[in-house]
């Protein structure tokens, strides 16, 4: 049973981690908590249902399931990337030099706007994911691990490694790191910080889209409100790992998923969310910069 709970927790945790990456990347560069990030994830989940709904209706996904799922990821990624870009242009860029509170309020406003926009355009009723994913799996020591769970784990790890390599190895990644360290200095040496910020938003949104597609498949039901809880959980994960720190977000997400899964099964499922937030409070008290966050002194 422990193995089963471990797998359940890790699956959930890797989804949290993917969303948390978007929070942490944006925070790293802009010191802004993008509260509308959860909504991007929700839109990603809706897009998956729409794309796969169409493909199932035309009979395409019955014969080419992997291709259909890949298509859902691509469409959802492109659309959410565009949403992220627009979000940054419309809600954050005009407020770039305003007081810190202004973009924060703007973020909350965008979150409310997107939620209601989806509710009005897609309806207030739950949307059900087409039942095309095989429920089968493999049995290891009494634990059944579905192919979907394996897929989610593998896919999110690939995405995380890809992100890590992107940031460490590419020129754009280097520019992102430079901007996050000191955006004024970076622009002095010729880095277009607006471009870097836009890229950050697009990448973060695409990761959220991937998480959305996976969650739509995993839970099977999507509504306009899922972005809220997932957003808060992912934000917790980001803070847990040290906000602004990319490996921290990954670790925080996985830990949060594990704590939730194991706490719910071995202590009480009633207090599932309580465990997650208790951990957050403990970390904030004893290690305010998060597990992997560095202790930064006052900037001189």
């Amino acid at each position: 049973m422990f193995l089963q709970q471990l797998i359940n927790g890790l699956t959930l945790g890797s989804v949290y981690a993917l969303i948390a990456l978007g929070y942490t990347m944006v925070y790293g560069i802009l010191q802004l908590i993008n509260f509308a990030h959860g909504e991007i994830y929700m839109i990603g989940a809706y897009l998956a249902i729409i794309v796969l709904g169409v493909l199932t209706a035309t009979g395409f996904s019955a014969t080419n399931l992997p291709l259909a799922i890949l298509l859902a990821f691509i469409v959802s990624g492109i659309f959410c990337g565009a949403y992220g870009l627009t979000l940054e242009r419309v809600a954050y860029r005009p407020l770039r030099h305003a007081h810190r509170l202004s973009p924060l309020i703007s973020a909350i406003g965008m979150s409310i706007f997107l939620q209601n926009y989806v509710m009005l355009s897609q309806g207030a009723v739950d949307k059900v994911f087409p039942h095309i994913i095989p429920t089968k799996g493999i049995e290891i020591a009494g634990a059944s691990i579905s192919y979907l769970q394996i897929f989610i784990l593998v896919a999110s790890f690939i995405l995380m490694i890809a992100l890590h390599l992107f940031i460490k190895k590419t020129r754009l990644g280097k520019a992102m790191r430079a901007t996050s360290q000191d955006s004024r200095m970076a622009s002095l040496v010729g880095i277009d910080s607006n471009k870097v910020i836009a890229v950050t938003f697009v990448i973060g949104s695409m990761l959220a889209a991937a998480a959305g597609v996976m969650v739509a498949m995993y839970y099977g039901v999507v509504n306009f409100f899922i972005g809220y809880t997932a957003g808060i959980k992912a934000f917790t994960a980001a803070v847990l790992g040290g906000i602004g720190n990319i490996p921290g977000a990954m670790l925080g997400g996985l830990l949060l998923g594990l704590v939730e899964g194991l706490g719910a099964s071995y202590i009480s499922s009633e207090y599932k969310d309580v465990f997650a937030f208790t951990i957050l409070i403990l970390v904030l008290i004893f290690r305010p910069t998060g597990l992997l966050g560095e202790r930064i002194g006052e900037k001189v």
């Binding site: 049973m1 089963q4 709970q5 359940n8 959930l12 305003a98 007081h99 810190r100 509170l101 202004s102 309020i105 509710m119 207030a124 009723v125 739950d126 059900v128 039942h131 429920t135 799996g137 049995e139 059944s144 579905s146 979907l148 995993y218 839970y219 099977g220 039901v221 509504n223 409100f225 899922i226 939730e260 899964g261 719910a264 099964s265 009480s268 499922s269 009633e270 599932k272 969310d273």
Partner: protein, 435 residues
């Protein structure tokens, strides 16, 4: 941002004024509220808006209070005007948005159909009937707010709410708001009618009847010895699960008794714990969004144990969420199929023509609305107490057959039977007394 330009004597010095003491450098967080007054060289000065609003915090508070007061007063003014119009208002309240919106819609459609029929026959008491639809989002707090709104807008009666957790607090508002009669088509928690409220009725059965029947079926027909029980912590879900547990008594072992959270989407942790206990049946007290996911996720975890649940789950949405294969063989307790009731035929035909397929509680909503309107028509007034008295005396021949209420407001006859999910449909399966 807007800016105002006012003229000022040209000799005025250039000055910068910060609105309030909040501008101290130590608290940059509140900077956005401050006004910055800058005098231009041309001799006019300009109020620049910094941040979102140019009001100071206290001005903002005053303003929002004023706006709030105006908002509160407006409806009263409007209802004041509306009262002069010649309509009789009845309310319908339930979860119109959110995960249980399908139920709210069924409820609203049923009531709407009844009201339109009455209006075609010249209304009630010589006046047209106006339907006020309110959304409680199955939230007890919102249910109270909505009930207050209905009471204040002069509703002569209410059909609703759908969830027991909404109906119970709302009924108190209706009671205090002038004994406004409230007929719920679907709230089955016993507590609703156990508090001696003369204005509260239900046209459905009660969970103590439903839970007892489920237990009888499990013990005498399925002959099951080990059950797991889960509920969603709502008044309805927990009430039903506890009635079932009580009725099971010592005839079978309850190997697991646990809780899930309504609105949650991942129940794998609870299901994994259940898997280890190897029950022969999993009983769920709750509503279809969670029931569907529970069944789906249980099958994904390799749990093949049959599920059983109550009337909150018997909707096509359940099968849609769980998928046809996963839902197969799920037992549900509900009243008999209206398609087999002769008196229901006219209703079903009209409903199908207007709204498509009926939900489990559409017909109950329709009868509830008809009973309410008959009560008003017999009383000859819209006074809550007198209408309630009339409803108590009534024997109503409706789509469901004859409905009569006892002293508490429960129906005299509430036949529950067991249904089964087969090939994506709900089928009648077992009646008490059968093997």
């Amino acid at each position: 941002m807007k800016s105002e330009v006012r003229s000022l004597p040209p000799q005025a010095p250039r000055l910068k004024i910060s609105g309030t003491s909040l501008s101290g450098g130590r608290k940059p967080a509140l900077e956005g509220f401050n006004q910055e007054l800058e005098v231009r060289k041309t001799g006019s000065y300009e109020v620049k808006r910094v941040g979102l609003l140019s009001f100071s915090a206290s001005q903002l508070l005053k303003f929002s209070f004023l706006a709030f007061t105006v908002c509160c007063l407006l409806p009263t003014v409007f209802t004041g005007c509306a009262k002069k119009e010649d309509t009789i208002k009845i309310g319908v309240a339930g979860p119109m948005t959110g995960d249980q919106a399908k139920m709210g819609m069924d409820l609203k459609n049923g009531v709407e159909l009844a009201v339109s029929e009455w209006n075609e026959r010249s209304g009630v008491l010589g006046k047209k009937i106006e339907l006020l639809t309110e959304d409680d989002q199955h939230d007890p707090k919102l249910a109270v707010a909505v009930a207050n709104k209905l009471a204040n807008s002069g509703a002569a009666g209410v059909v609703g709410h759908w969830n027991s957790s909404a109906s119970i607090p709302a009924s108190e508002v209706y009671k205090e708001g002038g004994n406004i009669p409230m007929i719920t088509p679907a709230s089955t928690n016993p507590q609703l009618t156990e508090r001696g409220f003369e204005n509260v009725f239900r046209v459905c059965g009660r969970d103590d009847q439903q839970g007892k029947l489920a237990a009888e079926f499990v013990i005498s027909s399925l002959k099951i010895k080990k059950v797991a029980i889960i509920h969603d912590k709502t008044t309805y879900g927990q009430g039903l699960a506890d009635e079932f547990k009580k009725a099971i008594g010592s005839a079978a072992d309850v190997v697991y008794y646990g809780v899930i959270i309504q609105g949650d989407k991942d129940f794998r942790a609870v299901l994994t714990s259940i898997k280890g206990k190897k029950p022969e049946l999993i009983y769920f007290g709750g509503i279809y969004p969670e029931a569907g996911l529970l069944v789906k996720q249980a099958r994904e975890l390799g749990i093949k144990t049959p599920f059983m649940s109550g009337d909150g789950t018997i909707d096509k949405e359940f099968i849609k969420i769980a998928s046809k294969e996963n839902a197969e063989g799920t037992y549900l307790t509900f009243s008999p199929d209206p398609s087999n009731i002769a008196t229901a035929k006219a209703f079903l035909d009209k409903y199908h023509a207007k709204y498509g397929e009926h939900g489990p509680y559409s017909i109950y909503a329709y009868d509830a609305a008809n009973i309410l309107l008959t009560g008003i028509s017999k009383a000859g007034v819209t006074d809550g107490k007198r209408v309630s008295d009339e409803i108590h005396k009534l024997t109503y021949e409706g789509a469901l057959g004859a409905i009569q209420f006892d002293q508490k407001g429960d129906v005299l006859k509430a036949p529950y039977i067991v249904w089964i999910t087969k090939d994506g449909e709900f089928k009648e399966y077992w009646k008490p007394g059968e093997e």
